[in-house]
């Protein structure tokens, strides 16, 4: 079992990374109960986090996976909290959206790049893909290549 300190560290790392990379205010999550399972950070209401019952399968929603050098928010989390994203957002047209939902890797059109960095502040790494006002999920951006991170079970083919 993980100590409370380690759990707090993992959660704080996830929150600060979400703030740094996507501009998501960590205070937004303070009103929820956050906890970890392995390298994943989960989020639920306080009542759901505190209730004691036998044979609990899970509580709330997995919001992020913490890697050694990065934090990847989940598709389910960005679809719920996408309106909080201020940075590293890419907007997809209809055709790009279809490919993204199918889990494909694609070349996308990004705004003018100056000195290797996009003028809108989009940098290589995890980004949140949008269609109109809706956050679709997370992609991994390298140059103009966007690799969809939509999990297999959620992909829409056709």
């Amino acid at each position: 079992m993980r100590s409370k300190d380690l759990e707090t560290q993992l959660i704080e790392r996830a929150l600060s990374s979400l703030e740094e990379r996507f501009g998501i205010d960590p205070d937004y999550f303070r009103s929820y109960h956050l906890f970890t399972r392995r390298n994943d950070v989960w989020c639920c209401t306080h009542q759901a986090g505190e209730v004691e019952l036998p044979r609990i399968v899970r509580r709330g929603l997995r919001i992020a996976r913490v890697f050694e050098h990065s934090v990847r928010p989940t598709t389910n989390a960005v679809q719920l909290f996408g309106h909080l994203v201020k940075r590293n957002r890419v907007d997809l047209d209809e055709r790009e959206t279809k490919r993204f939902l199918a889990g494909q890797t694609q070349d996308i059109h990004l705004p003018e790049v100056e000195g290797g960095e996009c003028v809108t502040g989009v940098t290589d790494g995890f980004v949140v893909a949008f269609n109109m006002d809706f956050a679709l999920g997370v992609g991994l951006l390298k140059g103009n290549k966007l690799k969809s991170q939509v999990p297999r079970s959620r992909r829409v083919i056709g």
Binding site: Y32, C43, C44, T45, Q47, A48, V51, L53, P54, R55, I56, V57, R58, R59, G60, L61, R62, N76, Q79, L80, T97, L101, N131, D133, F134, L136, S153, R154, V156, G158
Partner: protein, 299 residues
């Protein structure tokens, strides 16, 4: 099965074709992900029409693969038969309450409850079947539900482990599924008089457990997707025999064409209060067959 339907007083020439004809496709807007206006604007090409009794449930004219729509992927809508949205509409969940969905998989009603609670409080989504838990969790995830704990227990356990805990309880009971023949003929494979007897015994245990787990002053909804009186009026009558104080409340949903519960079946007189059960028939209502009872526990 047909002989029983005739015995229930149905005109088979109208009832059977309606039972086998798929009802209009319907979806429910998930307000945890978007507003009603936002979703209706996004789906305007489908020309959705409100069902009347619930502002968030809509019919569409032409059949669509709703699961392939962007709005479905985003969790903005949940494809759900119109009748299946009625138990939660009748339960009327409120924010910050503690609610139990005793047989929750695959999650259509649990996600509807969570949305009505605005992702606050506590929803315990229970299902006894390990095989059905993944579909439940997948639908909770897609719908953006944060207030839910998923448990895998026999529903019968809740009366003991959580006595008088919940503000509201939904028991959408396992049943002989006679009302779902338009969707699949699986009900025909499992249907038998002995299955009805066995299911009825399980339902009696579940409704008792649900009532025990309800706080004084709380409300529960018992529903099935079958017509069998043993599984509907018989089960509710059993509860009323054990708890004469329990109240089966009258339910009136605007624009919903329903019938009252049966007063007797094969010589067995039911408790008169079961007339307040809502019975939905496919030849009178554009949806699957359903039975819904709203029961309150006095303070």
């Amino acid at each position: 099965m047909l002989a029983r339907f005739e015995e229930m007083g149905f005109d088979l020439s109208q009832f059977v074709p309606a039972l086998l004809r798929p009802p209009s496709q319907t979806f429910r807007i998930n307000t945890l992900k978007g507003s009603r206006e936002q979703v209706l604007k996004s789906l305007s090409l489908l020309e959705p029409e409100p069902v009347g009794w619930n502002d968030l449930v809509f019919r569409i004219k032409d059949r669509q693969k709703l699961g392939n729509l962007l709005e479905h992927f985003l969790g903005l809508i949940y494809a759900q038969d119109a009748s299946s949205t009625i138990p939660v509409t009748v339960l009327d969940p409120q924010p910050d309450e503690e609610i139990l969905d005793m047989a929750a998989a695959p999650g259509s009603k649990a996600t509807q409850i969570a949305a009505a609670m605005a992702n606050t409080g506590l929803l315990v989504a229970n299902d006894v079947s390990p095989k059905r838990i993944p579909s439940l969790t997948a639908n909770l995830d897609r719908s953006g539900v944060l207030n839910t704990v998923v448990t895998r227990l026999p529903g019968q356990a809740y009366g003991h482990i959580a006595a008088e805990r919940f503000d509201r309880v939904l028991i959408d009971a396992p049943c002989s599924s006679e009302g779902t023949l338009s969707r699949s003929f699986r009900a025909l494979e499992i249907w038998s008089k002995s299955a009805i007897k066995r299911l009825s015994a399980t339902q009696r245990n579940l409704i008792m457990s649900a009532y025990y787990s309800l706080k004084p002053g709380g409300v529960m909804v018992y529903s099935t997707c079958t017509f069998a009186p043993e599984e509907n009026e018989g089960t509710v009558s059993h509860l009323l025999d054990k708890f004469p104080d329990a109240i089966v409340e009258p339910t009136d949903l605007e624009g919903l064409n329903s019938q009252p519960g049966f007063s007797e079946w094969r010589g067995e007189e039911f408790n008169p209060a079961v007339k307040n059960i809502l019975r939905l028939f496919p030849h009178e209502h554009d949806g699957e067959g359903f039975c819904v009872a709203r029961i309150s526990k006095p303070n």
